[in-house]
């Protein structure tokens, strides 16, 4: 029996038998013949639903049409008086009415970051026409990338503790501030009892959550809510961002976060993210999922392991992650139609990523884009959003432009997407990096 057949059979059995199906580790997955080739012999999960809550819009169509129009949603901070801070710009979500999106019971228990994640999850489930209540509860899990936790709630309760004493602290502080809040509350809201999890790798977290979702699915769980969200627009969180020395100090939005621009001067923090419904392909087919955006074809992650707070000397380990992800998909660099770049928006980090892309693709001018220039950096939520954008490119055969780009840096040598353009997109590579040296790459491909 081939490994492929074995896994497919196991996955089918899992769908049929629910909670008593085989589902764990080590052992239940055939080991790949060699590293980087597991995609050739193992299940490739598919994405059947997208839920987006971002500065560019709430819901897939609002987000995508705004992105294709190139609407800059970075703007001066309105959430608080930012005049005393060196940074004054952010990607805020306007028009987000938590009371319309999140049940009241959860609103009082949770932070804005969790509201965003729960709203995105509700939208994603609706988009996939997936009702967890119609399935055995162990068949569905939630694995989110997490970033800085519940900042609004956390800062408020810290203030109460230090001004009014411990009896003033909310009974919900212990469950609102910590990094598992969005995952835990989403599992409760939708009755999801599968192997849920929370991964943290700064900006790479959205991709890493999809990788963990793939591991979970390969061990027999049929459906995983994955992705991530972030909301760190409080005075204290902004102060923390500023200490990295990588936040743009520009005051005009057009001068803010500018991936791959000659005037790139740092990032602008933003809020938002995306939830993706990731399914075993046999399970998705069995339930008649209305659409398949694409499959998670390949993934790899590396760490620069250079210096914890300074950038690596070069992008060689990012290039390695890209190469391994492409090999994991059973593809070659020539098969990649577009790169959704990390686009850090700093001259040094952009130069590293450009060099890594050139190294992987040789002389071929693969189109490279980074629409997140329009919304800022959303930590784990940003990389989840990049995957959503890549899947929408595949769906519509269109490439979104790099956000907020005026003058491409002449040394990068990239074929940057300047205007939205029609293109047959079958396979996209998504890069995401995290502060400290995380490099993750994910390949999404039109469903076969």
């Amino acid at each position: 029996m081939s490994a492929d057949t074995a896994v497919t059979a196991a996955a089918t059995a899992a769908v049929a038998t629910g909670p008593s199906s085989p589902a764990a580790l080590p052992g239940s997955v055939p080991a790949p013949a060699s590293r980087g080739e597991s995609g050739s012999g193992a299940v490739r999960p598919v994405v059947t639903g997208l839920g987006i809550v971002a500065p560019s819009g709430i819901g897939v169509e609002e987000y995508w049409s705004s992105t294709l129009r190139g609407e800059l949603r970075v703007a001066p901070i309105t959430r608080f008086d930012a005049s005393r801070y060196d940074a004054s710009l952010a990607g805020e979500i306007s028009g987000f009415d938590p009371e319309a999106q999140v049940d009241k019971r959860y609103l009082v228990q949770t932070d804005r970051w969790t509201w965003i994640a729960m709203a995105a999850s509700r939208l994603a489930l609706a988009d996939a026409a997936y009702d967890p209540a119609e399935h055995e509860p162990y068949e569905t899990a939630v694995v989110f990338g997490s970033g800085s936790g519940g900042n609004d709630f956390g800062q408020r309760e810290l203030s109460r503790l230090w001004t009014r004493g411990r009896t003033a602290v909310s009974v919900y502080q212990s469950i609102a501030w910590f990094y598992a809040a969005a995952t835990g509350q989403t599992s409760i809201r939708h009755g999801l009892k599968g192997p849920s999890g929370v991964v943290v790798s700064d900006g790479a977290g959205g991709l890493d959550s999809l990788a963990q979702a793939r591991r979970v699915i390969r061990r027999g769980t049929s459906t995983v809510l994955a992705g991530g969200a972030e909301s760190g627009l409080t005075p204290y969180a902004l102060t923390c961002h500023l200490s990295s020395g990588r936040v743009s100090t520009a005051t005009r939005a057009v001068d803010g976060y500018k991936p791959f621009d000659a005037r790139a001067g740092g990032y602008v923090p933003g809020e938002g993210g995306a939830t993706l419904i990731v399914e075993d392909p046999a399970a998705a087919a069995a339930r008649g999922a209305p659409r398949v955006y694409g499959e998670i074809a390949g993934y790899a992650a590396t760490h620069d392991a250079a210096h914890p707070t300074r950038p690596a000397p070069d992008g060689q380990w990012l290039a390695t992650a890209m190469r391994r992800a492409i090999a994991d998909a059973g593809l070659a660099p020539d098969d990649i139609d577009v790169v959704f770049a990390d686009g850090a928006g700093s001259l040094d980090l952009d130069a590293q990523e450009a060099a890594a892309i050139r190294a992987v693709f040789g002389g071929r001018p693969v189109p490279v884009t980074a629409p997140q220039g329009l919304v800022g950096r959303l930590c784990a939520g940003g990389s989840a959003l990049s995957v959503a954008s890549a899947l929408l490119s595949i769906r519509d055969g269109v490439l979104p432009a790099v956000g907020n780009l005026d003058t491409p840096h002449p040394d990068h040598g990239l074929n940057l997407v300047r205007e939205p353009s029609q293109a047959a997109v079958r396979t996209a590579l998504v890069n995401a990096r995290g502060y400290g040296g995380f490099n993750s790459s994910l390949v999404v491909r039109a469903a076969t």
Partner: protein, 435 residues
């Protein structure tokens, strides 16, 4: 079909209350001594719970450099110290990039060079540093628009807990997949479970896996005060953590870290490494019920145990030791006892069950890794650590909790479980090297 890769534990490092290395930790546990005391890091007078299990930790003595100490919260310092001990114990030559270690062939070098990953758990990350810095920049909470001019240089390093994985990757030249798992109080089990998955699936050959937390700070004490999860037995701190005892009234806040070196078992055998045990099965389920509440029936934890045992291909009679979550809250110990009976049947009554939280408190996400370390050492030594402070039977907790005195007992298979805020229920099965 290619055989799945086994996962061996070849190194263990520990920073725990009452013992800041592996040997001291095991001695404390097998002596049945407790490290719970009146909280000393700050004046706890205003708090409902004033007890904690604190580490006597000197980062410089543990081998950390001045800059590592300056830029990192205590939770990262613990993990660095534990990892230094674990890597040394494994005999693997893991050093910073550029200093000639095992991984120094670079991304384009030897394709057979091992891929070294990092999978570390933490429930609350750098909360302590974030609170300390907040107090300064907000002038003791008085200003919502905090003054950034008083902030220190490494606050972003504290804001996102992935700094934990980064620091270990840099210290040991680990260029493979790295991440932090943050599933509340099951983080330590889940991080080791995820690390084992990386090896089983061929994504990495060696993984530095474990967890760390240092949550003894005013905000954390206030959080758990507010929901009365921690003990109020302030007049008798040394006996305040009382898992499974009828008089238990909440957990004792702890801190610490344990780090394991996980390796592809075949490679570990080929190099003649000492193997403590193998990670043979892991599973996690959610109760989808309540962020902090537990139903008394233990159904989801029982399911996690059953799936982990299936993966490990062990039955109830094979299990020689159960390391319980045993936090010492009323609801947890009852829930967990029910889960053991539901998953193991009548055999549950024959298996020694203990909670080391009775001695070292509950270090949130870290404790799962400390408990796995204890299980590995139980297998290594054929000794089961006790549940300290046990004196009065609770009718709802009627298993063999190894009261107060360690027991010589053959342990070929150990089960460790955890239960976390968010509804997470995790189980991991370790098997002896000769099984």
């Amino acid at each position: 079909m290619t055989a799945p890769r086994g996962v061996a534990v070849t190194g263990i490092g520990v920073v725990a209350p009452g013992g800041v290395n592996r040997k001291e930790f095991w001695t404390l546990l097998t002596d049945g001594r407790t490290a719970t005391r009146r909280l000393s890091f700050f004046d706890p007078a205003q708090f409902r719970s004033q007890v904690a299990a604190e580490c006597e930790f000197d980062p410089a003595a543990a081998g950390l450099g001045a800059r590592e100490i300056a830029r990192n919260d205590r939770f990262v310092q613990f993990a660095l110290a534990a990892a230094i001990e674990a890597v040394e114990d494994s005999g693997l030559d893991l050093r910073p990039t550029g200093s000639g270690g095992l991984t120094d062939t670079g991304p384009d070098g030897d394709p057979d060079a091992p891929v070294v990953g990092v999978s570390m758990g933490s429930a609350v990350g750098a909360t302590t540093r974030l609170e300390n810095e907040y107090v300064v920049v907000s002038d003791s909470g008085r200003h919502w628009e905090v003054d950034p001019h008083y902030a220190s240089a490494f606050l972003y390093h504290a804001l996102v807990p992935s700094c934990l994985a980064t620091e270990l990757a840099c210290r040991f030249g680990a260029h493979g997949p790295a991440s932090v798992v943050s599933t509340g109080c099951t983080s330590g089990i889940d991080a080791v479970g995820y690390g084992a998955q990386l090896i089983a699936d061929g994504e990495a050959d060696i993984v530095i896996a474990g967890a760390s937390d240092a949550p003894i700070s005013p905000i954390s004490m206030a959080c758990f005060d507010a929901i009365r999860a921690t003990t109020a037995r302030n007049d008798d701190p040394e006996h305040a953590s009382r898992p499974f005892d009828a008089s238990r009234d909440g957990f004792v806040m702890g801190e610490g870290s344990a780090v394991l070196v996980l390796e592809d078992a075949a490679a570990a055998r080929a190099r003649g490494a000492h193997i403590y045990c193998e990670v043979a099965g892991y599973a996690s389920r959610s109760n989808a019920f309540h962020m902090t509440g537990l139903r008394p029936d233990g159904v989801e934890m029982a399911e996690a145990i059953r799936v982990a045992m299936d993966a490990a291909r062990v039955g109830a009679h094979d299990i020689g030791y159960i390391n319980a979550h045993g936090s010492g809250t009323k609801q947890n110990d009852r829930h967990e006892t029910a889960a053991f009976k539901r998953s193991l049947g009548a055999t549950a009554y024959e298996i020694p069950v203990s909670s080391i939280k009775s001695m070292i408190g509950h270090s949130l996400g870290a404790i799962g890794s400390l408990e796995i370390a204890a299980c590995a050492l139980a297998i290594e030594n054929d000794v089961v650590p006790p549940t300290a402070n046990w004196s009065t039977r609770d009718p709802a907790c009627d298993l063999d909790y190894v009261p107060n005195v360690a027991r010589d007992h053959t342990v070929d298979v150990a089960l460790s479980v955890g239960s976390g805020f968010g509804g997470f229920q995790s189980a991991i099965v370790l098997t002896g090297p000769n099984r």
